[in-house]
Symmetry: C2
Subunit: 333 residues, 2 copies
């Protein structure tokens, strides 16, 4: 492409748009099933049961320590399939590009997206680009839709029982704080990288644990929001132990300074699992044996007698963890 | 929902977002396969071959005579599957909603989207919403991704031969001009409705014609852009006859006043088909027998000796129809 910035003509269906798609998208995403000339693409799923999910991405800034909106768009959607016990095969990609965006940045992001997909053996087979007028977009928004092969295990909120144990695969809030610091609006600098990554190694290990009931990735709204989903779905109490929930020191420090609670901050590479009491240690060991899970922890349990999300505080007290209301960090994912 | 306008808190993963999804999206889109609590949804495709496509929607204004961004989001994606010879079964939906949007407008749009999907027996089974800060969005952007059952006919650009005949299912440019007039920025008023609609009745009829080679819906970039795709893919000439291309009088009048060429304007409910010479009349008759196709016409042919897209003008001359460069109408779809 000759141009260094995106113009409205890159969105009109004509020559510039075709060149943008060929030079940036098709070149990096190339695979046997991607046909930029086709209206729709056939998928070979060999008659297997499939799973379907979608996610949108608006993170600001577009690039941050540990990733960018491109890697996030792959991990966000494939992680939703992974925690459902599936393996992603195919993705579609929508890009809403703001007029004036630097082509170099766009290319870097699409290259990262392509690399992230390739690393987990996922093919981007359908796509669409739209260009938004200057001032009508935030640089770049992405949406990805995933098709996965359904796994043999049946998981679900309805399988959760009283006394089941809750685990998290690693420290919470890294993604939220990494993005916050990358915005530089608070004049803070820190050494926090986003945890954004594929959770597939974690979910594959968890699927080997017979007593596994349910998994979820604590993204927008963080661990507290997953806890509230568990509470609502089971109509039982959720007890979490603050001292057992892993939070990195720099994440806690930034939270203390700015008044954020890491319980509500987005993760993009963690898994929350609910497991039968007898298998909690087994899952913990399996996770801790993985590089992605070395800080995994048992953080609480389902309480058949309770009716709230309760946090046992470090000081020995107990408080209700409220459902998130105000948005602590817009455009975090 | 109590609020009349969208706030950032509707995008944070917490209570307001849950209520937005339950009250607006899940209520209108409700179907047995939509589970707003699930990370991913299983699809029952009975082992059949599937087709996959995606499209983004940014039309401005969000509502226009003949449709809104919600109906467009259903028709745009299901039409891509229809022209590929497939029938859509499932859609996913991404909504990027700007802070400050009126909830009433959002609800009207999602209701239209749900009605449009229901009318063609399509289920919206996965979704995601993001809220953009005021000034970082254009009200509402949508993306839909479709899964269809692959039809038995094999169509494709590679099946086109010299002397094949080109048809269009109805007048071109209605959508482009309807949206343009709805913007009211030119002080023009007119009685033009968008042609936005499902093309499934048209494609189903066309699939019964043995000599059918290829179909495409002339959206962004219009008929001229489809002609250029045909030219590039076949490396043959494309001859179009201006006097045979149906254009409604009010569409032509607005084009004459503002200097637009209807050949480049978006349609959202038309089909361009390429068919073997001996079957062109059969397809024409089949289309003309449908309410959607009563103005269908044979508009040109593939010319094995040529190398350009040529338009025989009404005055008897001939001119090269150039590939679209500048964007005539941003945010048209």
């Amino acid at each position: 492409m000759e141009d260094s910035h995106i113009s409205l003509a890159h969105g009109n269906g004509g020559r510039f748009m075709r060149e943008l798609i060929e030079d940036i998208f098709a070149r990096h995403l190339s695979n046997p099933d991607l046909d930029v000339q086709a209206d729709a693409v056939p998928l070979d799923l060999h008659g297997r049961d499939i799973m379907f999910t979608t996610d949108g991405f608006t993170v600001q800034p577009l690039e941050f320590p540990g990733g960018n909106i491109g890697s996030l768009a792959v991990h966000g959607t494939t992680n939703d399939l992974a925690v459902a016990g599936s393996t992603t095969k195919y993705l579609s990609l929508n890009a809403f590009i703001e007029e004036g965006m630097e082509v170099e940045v766009l290319e870097r992001i699409i290259k990262t997206l392509a690399d992230s997909a390739r690393a987990i053996d996922v093919q981007v087979v359908a796509g669409d680009t739209k260009v938004l007028r200057r001032g009508e977009g935030g640089g770049l928004y992405l949406a990805t839709t995933g098709i996965g092969i359904r796994g043999s295990r049946t998981l679900g909120l309805d399988r959760i029982r009283g006394d089941d144990v809750i685990l998290v695969s690693g420290p919470v809030g890294d993604h939220g704080i990494a993005v916050l610091l990358a915005r530089e609006e608070f004049g803070l600098h820190g050494n926090v990288s986003s945890d954004a990554a594929s959770v597939l190694p974690l979910t594959q290990e968890a699927l080997k644990v017979p007593g596994l009931r349910f998994m979820r990735d604590p993204t927008r709204g963080g661990l507290a929001t997953v806890a509230h989903e568990l509470q609502r779905a089971t109509a039982m109490g959720i007890s979490l132990s603050q001292s057992h929930i892993p939070v990195r020191d720099p994440v806690q420090s930034v939270c203390d300074m700015l008044g954020y609670d890491p319980m509500y901050l987005a993760c993009e590479g963690r898994v929350v699992a609910v497991v039968a009491p007898g298998d909690a240690e087994l899952l913990l060991q399996r996770w801790q044996a993985l590089p992605q899970g070395k800080n995994a922890a048992i953080i609480g349990n389902i309480n058949a007698q309770g009716a709230h999300v309760l946090l046992q505080t470090v000081l020995g007290g107990e408080r209700i963890l409220e459902e998130l209301e105000d948005d602590p960090l817009p455009r975090i994912c």
